[in-house]
């Protein structure tokens, strides 16, 4: 069609005759000339912010205080806590003061009780009886740090999960369903070809920008890091990467 140019092929239907194409161009130009609506009006931003804040507080198991002020949509540095601590806080809120168990049943962990004030609980990992809703049979440290893992730096980043001072982790309980459920975690380990008892550490984050679970396990040839997508279950897991660790 002689009246078409290469740009037309990307925008306009290729069955148009010359008159129709001219009309199409005219209407497109008309539509694109309409002014931009501009930024979101402040009252709409406030509304949405309030709504999201309420959702967040519901997720955290808290009820917004009456007359609570609106938090504007502005970035703040993420506040991290180990997932076990978040779980402890959740169990304490539900159980009214029971001793909670750690997610990770590392035998070297120090036993302690958690106070109701989860945010002020000591960072030591807890253990004990009477935990409700969290009964892991999978050993290892479990985090949901949201760390952006990179291919080039994977081993070093994964090694940080085993460090005495572990990486920061997210604080919202319930968000990391995979890691909160020992059965699901065991299934994930099986899905990536690791034994349930081989887990040294697990973390929810991203790998090359994609939501992922990072598992540090002990294999036959030593420690290795295995990365899978977060839908990690037999028959569905996508193993994104793996590497031996020193």
């Amino acid at each position: 069609m002689s009246n078409r140019d290469p740009f037309d092929d990307d925008v306009f239907d290729d069955h148009l005759d010359a008159d129709a194409l001219a009309e199409q161009r005219e209407v497109r130009a008309l539509l694109s000339s309409l002014p931009d609506p501009g930024p979101v009006p402040p009252d709409v931003v406030d509304r949405i912010t309030r709504t999201l804040r309420t959702l967040q507080e519901q997720d955290a198991g808290r009820t917004p205080a009456a007359g609570a002020s609106v938090v504007p949509i502005t970035p703040r540095r993420p506040q991290h806590r180990p997932l076990w601590l978040a779980a402890a806080a959740a169990v304490m809120l539900a159980g009214g003061g029971a001793v909670v168990s750690q997610l990770a049943s590392d035998t070297s962990a120090t036993s302690t009780s958690a106070s109701v004030a989860g945010s002020s609980a000591s960072p030591e990992r807890t253990s004990g009886d009477g935990a409700r809703g969290v009964a892991p049979d999978t050993s290892g440290r479990v985090y949901a740090s949201g760390t952006p893992y990179r291919r080039a730096d994977l081993v070093r980043q994964a090694a940080a999960l085993l460090a005495p001072s572990p990486p920061p982790a997210a604080e919202r309980p319930g968000a990391a369903g995979l890691l909160m459920d020992s059965t699901a975690l065991s299934a994930c380990l099986r899905a990536v070809g690791a034994a349930a008892g081989s887990l040294l550490a697990a973390d929810l984050g991203t790998y090359e920008g994609r939501p992922a679970v990072v598992l540090v396990v002990t294999g036959r040839s030593g420690r290795e890091v295995v990365v899978a997508d977060q839908d990690c279950r037999p028959g569905a897991a996508t193993r994104l990467a793996s590497a031996p660790m020193p």
Binding site: D10, V11, F12, D13, D14, H15, L16, D17, A20, E23, Q24, E26, V27, R28, L30, L31, S32, S33, L34, D36, P37, P39, V40, P41, V44, V45, R47, I48, T49, T51, L52, L55, Q56, A60, V71, I73, P75, R76, R77, P78, Q79, L83, A144, G146, P148, A169, A170, E171, R172, P173, A175, G177, L204, G205, T206, G209, P211, A212, Q230, D231
Partner: protein
């Protein structure tokens, strides 16, 4: 504003939200809210409806973040949710009784396209299009997305987007002709309860003003 938040990609922010970061989703919203607002307002042409749709969409995105698979860009995913929220409102509004807008003269000619009056006419005409054509035109001609990007947002084939745009433009051209039987005052709220122009792929709505048949072929909807 922290460097951490600034440096994180959209996907990283979404993953951080899923992992429990209490601030990640708000940062994602802050980044894209103006573009999403523009899509909502252009699609619905009504401030309150657009605000409601944007809020619905962001709540949905907040809750469904865990289902994001990374197959498309986060922005595409967000746009998709907003467009769907808008189209839901269009459909719901269509089911409600309409309130006629005050009558006003149609634009007197195409040389007045830049005027406010003409812009109002264009928006009113756009509101009369079927939602599928309206959404395609908003994304491609008004929002500047490529056909491929719009296809990803709408989850249809690129040919379908082109076809919807072509039909929508043809219907708009007919609606904006001052001497066209399709021209005239638009009934219904601009949130989508206006009667859509009828073309070969359009469900007729009682009381709708028919537009001339489109000159383009079938939409080629993907099964």
């Amino acid at each position: 504003m922290t460097s951490d938040s600034d440096d994180a990609s959209d996907a990283e922010l979404l993953a951080a939200h899923v992992a429990g970061d209490p601030d990640a989703f708000a940062e994602l919203v802050r980044r894209h809210q103006d573009r999403l607002w523009a899509v909502a307002l252009r699609t619905l042409a009504d401030r309150e409806e657009a605000a409601d749709a944007l809020q619905d969409a962001l709540v949905s995105a907040y809750r469904r973040a865990g289902s994001f698979r990374g197959d498309a860009a986060v922005t595409t995913w967000l746009h998709r949710i907003v467009v769907n929220a808008c189209l839901d409102r269009v459909r719901r509004a269509r089911a409600r009784p309409t309130v006629p807008l005050p009558e006003r003269e149609p634009a007197s000619g195409r040389d007045e396209h830049a005027s406010t009056e003409a812009a109002l006419d264009v928006r009113a005409a756009l509101a009369r299009l079927p939602e599928s054509q309206r959404a395609a035109l908003v994304l491609v001609d008004m929002h500047g997305l490529s056909v491929a990007e719009a296809a990803a947002v709408l989850e249809v084939a690129e040919g379908t987007v082109k076809s919807r745009c072509a039909r929508g433009r043809a219907a708009l051209a007919a609606l904006l002709q001052p001497d066209s039987p399709a021209a005239g005052p638009v009934s219904g709220s601009s949130a989508g309860s206006g009667n859509p122009a009828t073309s070969s792929d359009v469900r007729p709505v009682p009381g709708g003003t028919p537009a001339p048949p489109s000159r383009v072929g079938s939409e080629g909807e993907r099964a």
